[in-house]
Amino acid sequence: MNYSNYIAWIPLLPLAGFLILGLFGRNYLKNSSGIIATILLLASTVLSFFAAYNYFFIDGKIDGIYQSLKPVNYAWLKFTDTLSIDMGITLDPISVMMIVVVSFISLMVHIFSLGYMKGEERFSTYYSFLQLFTFSMLGLVLSSNLFQLYIFWELVGVSSFLLIGYYYDKPSAVAASKKAFIVTRFADLFFLIGILILGFTANTFDFNTLIQSLSAENSTIVAGSFLGTSIITWGLTLIFIGGAGKSAMFPLHIWLPDAMEGPTPVSALIHAATMVVAGVFLVARLFPVFAITDSGALEIVAYVGAFSALFAAIIACTQTDIKRVLAYSTMSQIGYMMFALGISNYGEDGAGYTAGMFHLFTHAFFKSCLFLCAGAVIHFIHSNEMKDMGGLRKYMPITNVAFLFACLAIAGAPPFAGFFSKESILHAAYESNMLIFIIALITSALTAFYVFRLYFSIFWNKEAHLHEIHHGEGTWTMKIPLIILGALSLLAGFIPFGNYVSSDGKIMHGHLDILFSITPVLLSVAGIAYAGYLYIKQTDRPQKIATAIGGIYTAAYKKFYIDEVYIFITEKIIFNLIGRPAAWIDKNIVDGFMNLIGNTTTKISNAIKGLQSGKVQGYALYFFGGVVGLILIFEYLWN
């Protein structure tokens, strides 16, 4: 089957949906916009699955190695014969895996939103933004060169900005959307510099050519060095900073918790399952360059990822807003994926790569399930705060089960999806880096603790004070995605992922060692049990513990004051030391120069304006005098 016949429709159908709903949705398609968007996305999802089936099972492999195909390529900006910016589509294991994940999760969110967003004033705008996001994300994962990826990278940033600020009459949502946009843009600045460095060094932007020329054993590329580090390492590090901004890695994570101001299905789609893993995807996309050039960049990826995983998990244990708990949990899990890539090698020892991608895959299901369940709970109870919830298992049986499944998955309880992916990450870490392995184990126990704290607080604990039960659990459009995603949280782990995705396209045999798994599973069970001990009934135990550890609890509750540090840096240092001097220069020197020109002109004109007296004879005299003067000059002074 020829991919070029249909592959472009996968991103283009949501684009069409965005255009149709964006142009006509408000006035003509107000009620049907949800259905239109969902149908378009359903078509796109079916095509994605079809493409994935073809790629993985029919013709993706040549000699047992998955090839990188390029069914569509269109030279867009041609600079020289070798250097051009193309618009193309790449099919390789990770991009095919990503289009399946993105379109499927997006479809679930579209269906869920039919019920969740019903009756919203800007219903069709919401769907057009969702379609724009889906288009951009699909375009991002299918990109065939760095610059195209960068364009779509910015597009997902814009659609994330639009969707976070969806409730634009809420000042906190406006502030959150600005924060998300500015922080990611700040990181993207480094990303752009990194792209230019890599493009300059390899003399191409195309992924395949770039990877080949930068990672070949006897590479002919002569890369200079800067501050004692090779220029390629600098480029890769800068690119990773861009990825860290999008993937909310420490210290660029501050936008993600605030991004929860958007509608909850949006959080499920963008800030849990798809957009935030773009950074992981980026590192995976350039993984051969990262791994083979043997630079320090991959170590940076590993340590930043591991630190973010632990850091976010600690914060997640103290937050009371359920969406914020999930946001920090997302950050922590992305940290997992990052360090899994960071500790990996290319080829035979690429277990970490496969594990990271596997975790990305399973995480998308259980985390979007968690978010959608949280959405259903918020829909039911009209609050984000844990203290308003409790005992909901009686009112929301389906949500309860789906949430429990997803919690077990993220906690790594066998045989749920997260167990398999997390075990493979831990195993890969165990074999390559002990420090990161220990961090990962602690994080894993903390993860089990905080998700079950969340679970017990919502569905067990005390009875919530429900004023009146005026609606049920939600419409069937809200329940179906929960059921599907809950089931996938249970089943997705059984996919033999290493057969399909590996760093070099060959089959990667995952080893699931029962003995090895005992420790992490016991730690998870301990975390779950401790959460149950504290939260299954309403007690004062959590309060006592919080008081006992005092300072640490407060620091974690305040998110380790990172926001305050940012405010200090921006307002006290950047504004005072850079902003104000720059403003002074602008006001006094730049403006002053312009004012000088203007004032001088005015003065001269004032001085000579008397010449225009209105007296006709005066003018005639000037003219005559001029003629006489010219005659005198030509007659006597010329030559």
Partner: protein, 103 residues
Amino acid sequence: MEITLYHILFLSTALFFIGIYGLFTRRNMITMLMAIELILNSVNINFVAFNKYLYPENLDGVFFVIFIIAIAAAEAAVAIAIIINLYRSHKTIDVESTEEMKF
């Protein structure tokens, strides 16, 4: 005494400067217009004189004079029309009293 080119040039120069003097000193626009006619006529005399004395076989200078006379007539018509309009609006044709067109 034979009349040479220099005599005629002297005449036309005198006429030209009388015209210039009139143009700069008179305040009455009609008089200024007449002064301009004097200047034009001094030029005409120059043309005819140079034609007659230097290139008697050609008629170029004479043709120019005829053109200048025609143009002077048209110019006088336009100028007088302007002066009449000015008189209607300002009730005077004194050039000193029409100074609105200034800075």
